[in-house]
């Protein structure tokens, strides 16, 4: 079952997971741990996108919608944990008090309990993905039209989050959050425990999705990206598989969103913004959308670079970043990951040349 390609992928996964999990042994500076947790979480979100786009060919420009909904679910739970301290008015979040809301709306009621909030954080994006997937894929809508519909969905959710200020905190979002405490463990976003939570989630999702892509269903998804009609004529219900991939990708994004709300200690409509959503597509493409690990690495590297670039090149960091994206598209179409292939290809070409030289000399000496 293990051909050389998937063996290589497995080794890549193990090295990456080891590096990510061993990192805290090298650093214990609170800010750096927090910063890397944030990069890993954005990597996790991009991992989800790579499953939908890289593997199944669904270009989801609205991926941040699932990410943001996850963030809002967790933020609301953490908000309701702090209520008595800050606003001191009968358990209502501050933005509801400001908008003269009398009592907590029914749909926020379940968010008093952590396990319900976490299920919602993953469940709501998955539910939305299934509904949208059924609406789009049953009608065999494909390519750019899917991208446009997902983008429109994103803008709708963004506008509603800002407009329904009474229930969502509007443009300021939900701020002043407590830290998540489950089973006695407090996840302080600047601590190693939180870093392990995000790194652990990333590694589990990476390995889980990696294995999934190697199952028959995973192979079918790649076939769908390649030629959906042929897949239909083999008897597979293409739209069902597309919805599966879309929902899985949304679930992973929801999980990443929840972690993001915890690491930044707030949730805002910009988590459901067009620029963040397009950035995720960019990170996925820069890393290499065809491989889960490459997309994740792409997100981590671009965000790390963006962080340090904007610190040292205050005036020109956007110029450098824009130029970087253009160069990637022109010279490394399959993303940074294809650097490996480029080297292997050049190495193969040199090997072949040696082989010819070798055989011709043998012939010349009459050995072969």
């Amino acid at each position: 079952m293990m051909n050389s390609k998937s063996l290589r992928t497995l080794i890549g996964y193990t090295i990456f997971s080891a590096a990510v999990l061993l990192l805290p042994l090298l650093i214990d500076d609170a800010y750096t741990l927090n910063k890397f947790s944030r990069y890993l979480i954005l990597g996790l979100a991009t991992l989800g996108l790579s499953l939908a786009w890289g593997y199944t060919g669904i270009l989801n420009l609205g991926h941040a919608a699932f990410f943001g909904l996850g963030a809002y679910c967790m933020a609301m739970y953490l908000k309701l944990q702090t209520v008595p301290v800050h606003t001191g008015t009968g358990g209502l979040p501050d933005f509801m008090v400001w908008n003269n809301v009398e009592q907590l709306p029914w749909f926020w009621e379940p968010f008093h309990w952590s396990y319900l909030a976490i299920t919602a954080g993953i469940g709501i994006p998955v539910l939305l993905a299934v509904m949208l997937g059924w609406f789009v894929f049953r009608a065999r809508i494909a390519g750019v039209f899917v991208a446009i519909i997902t983008l429109a969905m994103l803008v709708i959710i963004n506008l509603l989050l800002i407009d329904q200020q009474r229930y969502t905190g509007g443009f300021n979002g939900i701020t002043d959050l407590a830290w998540l405490t489950i089973g006695g463990i407090e996840f302080d976003p600047y601590s190693k425990t939180f870093y392990y939570l995000s790194a652990g989630s990333l590694v589990v999702c990476l390995l889980g999705t990696g294995i999934f892509t190697h199952t028959k269903a995973g192979l079918i998804l790649q076939a769908i990206r390649n030629d959906p009609d042929r897949v239909r004529f083999l008897g597979y219900d293409v739209s069902a598989y597309q919805i599966l991939a879309f929902a899985l990708s949304a679930g992973i994004a929801g999980l990443a969103g929840m972690l993001y709300a915890m690491v930044l200690e707030f949730a805002s409509p910009t988590f459901v913004g067009v620029s963040l959503s397009l950035s995720m597509v960019i990170w996925c493409a820069v890393g290499g959308r065809g491989s889960l690990l490459a997309a994740t690495l792409g997100a981590i590297l671009v965000n790390a670079a963006q962080g340090s670039l904007s610190e040292n090149f205050l005036e020109t960091w956007q110029l450098i970043l824009g130029g970087f994206f253009v160069l990637i598209v022109l010279f490394l179409p399959k993303g940074l990951i294809s650097i490996g292939e480029l080297i292997r290809w050049r190495r193969k070409r040199t090997d072949r040349v040696q082989v010819q030289v070798l055989s011709s000399t043998k012939r010349a000496r009459g050995i072969s």
Binding site: L319, G322, V326
Partner: protein
């Protein structure tokens, strides 16, 4: 009764602005299949070009339109020759490349023209409002309607009645066959991209006087322009015009009945429904693949 008419007029003026911005995109995306996320930046460049001509060369708004078309058009041509030309077989990658170009253009303008809000003066004749059959119309909005109508006509004539236009439509239908019959698609694509960018530049200079000019004013237009192009049917100028008309009226109507935010939400939901039930767009004929 006049409220109704002024509402219709508001819808028309919103539609004209939507069409101005979307027309350039319809040409570039429609005929070349290039998803140009830097289209908003071309609008911004047009606005800045108008400001620059007015500030340093003292050229008024109306004469500057042609100059701006040429300036932004040539920038578009350079970008096409330099970067976009290599990406025709990879439509989805143009998203990444043009997004990168957009970021660079924004930052270049911010470094050169500065981050402050710039403003474009309106000639005295256009800044008044006039009363027609008892209703108050802004002269400048009428002027925009006029120019938009002119531009659609010009684009339609260019596409349908010129040799360049026929060649472009040939390439859109079947690029390989067009090249076999001797059409230099590279040159045509270069000119088309420049033409689309020029149109966006003109849109920028027309929009500037009713709002402000800032480095990031472009991003606001890209999503709406895409909705109009996709809704109108890929590659059909008439479709784009009709789609922006509908979207303009719906936005104005909803904004009046409800508020601007919900108006935008309703418009986007309408677009999603239309794409779902008529993927090929409202007006383009069903091309049997």
């Amino acid at each position: 009764m006049e409220v109704f008419i002024s509402q219709i007029f508001t819808g028309l003026s919103i539609a004209s602005i939507l069409l101005l911005v979307a027309l350039g995109l319809a040409i570039i995306y429609g005929s070349m299949g290039v998803i140009n996320l830097a289209h908003g930046e071309f609008v911004m460049l047009g606005a800045y070009a108008t400001w620059f001509l007015q500030q340093y060369a003292g050229i008024g708004l109306i004469p500057s339109l042609v100059l701006v078309f040429l300036m932004v058009g040539s920038i578009g041509w350079v970008i096409e020759r330099g970067i976009v030309r290599h990406l025709y077989h990879r439509p989805l990658d143009t998203i990444l490349a043009t997004w990168g170009i957009g970021i660079m253009l924004q930052q270049l303008v911010r470094l050169t023209a500065g981050a402050e809000l710039r403003y474009v003066e309106l000639p005295e004749s256009l800044s008044r409002s006039v009363d027609l059959l008892g209703i108050n119309f802004s002269v400048y909005r009428l002027f925009i309607l006029l120019v938009t109508g002119l531009l659609i006509l010009l684009t339609w004539l260019l596409l349908m009645r010129t040799e360049y236009g026929t060649k472009l439509r040939a390439i859109t239908q079947n690029r390989e066959m067009a090249e076999c019959s001797g059409i230099d698609s590279q040159r045509i694509f270069g000119l088309t991209f420049a033409f689309g960018a020029g149109l966006a530049g003109v849109a920028g200079s027309l929009v500037a006087p009713i709002k402000s000019v800032s480095p990031d004013m472009g991003t606001h237009y890209v999503v709406d322009a895409f909705m109009v192009v996709v809704l109108g049917g890929v590659g059909s100028v008439a479709g784009t015009a009709a789609a922006s008309g509908i979207l303009g009226e719906v936005t104005a109507g909803m904004a009046y009945l409800l508020n601007d935010t919900l108006a935008k939400v309703i418009v986007f939901i309408a677009v999603v429904m239309l794409i779902r039930f008529r993927p090929q767009g409202l007006f383009s004929q069903l091309v049997r693949k």
